[in-house]
């Protein structure tokens, strides 16, 4: 049986656990689904979603615009790679949330800080994976390109980036997942806006159905983005094996 169907088993267990009132914070699954359909169309949710998506989108955009080129430069220019490499490696596994208070002190309390948080969460893994992808791009393809007279920019645009695309996409996918975490954490820590605010409100007022409904929505969002990029990755995968 396809693996996705095991989630149905979990949904049933959740339902049972909720009905049996096994824990005060776990309402039945059906109640959560109901709440989902209740809050989704509301204006409050809509506004929160827009703020959140905006911060997420902007942060990711910057992460891509800076991370990918930086990764390429780090891979092709030896000195830069070595200089920045250590820092990228440190920050890729570092608790970025620890940096959020600094951001608050420097950038202030507001949406901008959240955008910067998203950026910081995502950019390092994107840079790292891009660098790895370009570094391990097929050397013989590059040589082939040069033997047929490809210019520098042609080598990049027609060979290198394509050869590294699977790794780059993998980095983008991980970056997106981190970005979602970044926007949630940013909103919880920095400015209580968007979905972070909703989480606060629901949990403070013990509105458990709504809380879990929001959790499911955010989780689904993160999952959807991850799968969308994974689908892109799969389309590129067909040539990855023959590199």
């Amino acid at each position: 049986m396809k693996m996705v169907f095991s989630l149905i088993v979990w949904a049933v267990l959740w339902e049972i656990a909720g009905r049996l009132k096994l824990s005060t914070i776990v309402p039945p699954f059906s109640a959560v689904i109901e709440a989902m359909f209740e809050i989704a169309p509301t204006e409050k949710f809509g506004k929160a979603a827009i703020i959140t998506l905006r911060s997420f989108g902007l942060g990711m955009l910057f992460a891509l615009l800076i991370g990918i080129p930086l990764g390429i430069v780090m891979a092709r220019v030896r000195g830069v790679g070595r200089l920045l490499g250590m820092w990228v490696n440190i920050f890729v596994s570092a608790p970025i949330s620890a940096l959020v208070p600094i951001l608050m002190a420097v950038v202030g309390i507001g949406e901008t800080t959240v955008v910067v948080t998203v950026f910081l969460f995502a950019v390092f893994v994107i840079t790292l994976d891009t660098q790895v992808g370009i570094t391990h791009a097929d050397r013989s393809l590059v040589e082939m390109g040069r033997s047929f007279g490809a210019t520098r920019s042609q080598l990049y645009s027609k060979i290198l980036v394509w050869s590294a695309l699977p790794e780059i996409l993998a980095g983008v996918r991980l970056g997106a997942i981190r970005g979602v975490k970044g926007v949630v954490i940013g909103q919880l820590l920095v400015a209580i806006i968007g979905v972070g605010e909703l989480f606060e409100v629901y949990s403070n007022n013990f509105l458990m159905e709504e809380f879990w409904a929001l959790v499911v929505i955010v989780f689904l969002f993160a999952f959807a983005i991850s799968e969308a990029i994974a689908a892109l990755e799969r389309r590129v995968e067909y040539y990855a094996a023959s590199r």
Binding site: M3, T24, I25, S97, A105, K181, I185, V195, F223
Partner: protein, 200 residues
């Protein structure tokens, strides 16, 4: 800076839930990951959930822990476990599943039993990825404990950061944060060196 006892004391407080959480999560997570790797049924039940948990922003649930378990050690340990477990389980699971089929066939060709297969081939091969999982789990644990300390109630390092932030003593706040990043980076780097030594 903070050569007085405050930084050291803070780390001692922070280290407890971090290490406790990673240790618990390590043992349970590895066992579970191995279970997933060896049993198709366990895999079927758990894999979608683990994948979702990996992608999910667990931070949203951390404040909820406070309601359940108060503001003490338990919540913080749970925060660490919640963030570290998925990656530990995934890596252990992958380590088991990625056993080269050639080695398994070789074992069968010499009439090895399933138990021998698991003990002599699958597990030793998975050891490398399991260790990687632990290392990544520790990284996630750092993240978990920092978030927990900033979100739940400040203790340890989170407390220092918030305190210096509220008293606008930014240089001290910066120093504390830098130290967290440094501690995380150094311990993870050391683990990576150890990993390369053990599994060439």
């Amino acid at each position: 800076m903070l050569r007085d006892g405050s930084l050291g004391k803070a780390y001692l407080i922070t280290a407890q839930p971090l290490l406790l959480g990673v240790a618990l999560c390590g043992v349970a997570g590895i066992a579970f990951g191995i279970g997933m790797g060896l049993s198709r049924t366990v895999e079927w039940l758990s894999l979608p959930v683990i994948i979702i948990l990996q992608a999910a922003p667990m931070a949203a649930i951390i404040p909820l822990l406070t309601y359940m378990y108060g503001i003490g050690l338990t919540s913080k340990v749970l925060a660490v476990i919640m963030l570290a477990a998925p990656v530990i389980v995934m890596n252990s699971y992958k380590g088991i599943r990625n056993t080269p089929p050639s080695l398994l066939q070789m074992c069968r060709s010499f009439q090895g039993t399933r138990a021998q297969e698991v003990l002599k081939i699958v597990l030793p091969h998975a050891a490398a990825l399991i260790f990687t999982g632990l290392r990544l789990g520790l990284a996630m644990g750092f993240i978990g404990i920092v978030i927990a300390e900033l979100l739940i109630t400040p203790t340890g390092i989170g407390d220092l950061i918030s305190y210096h932030s509220s008293t606008a003593d930014y240089s001290k706040m910066f120093a504390t944060i830098a130290s967290v990043v440094a501690v995380a980076a150094i311990s993870l780097h050391l683990l990576q060196l150890l990993e390369r030594r053990l599994f060439p």
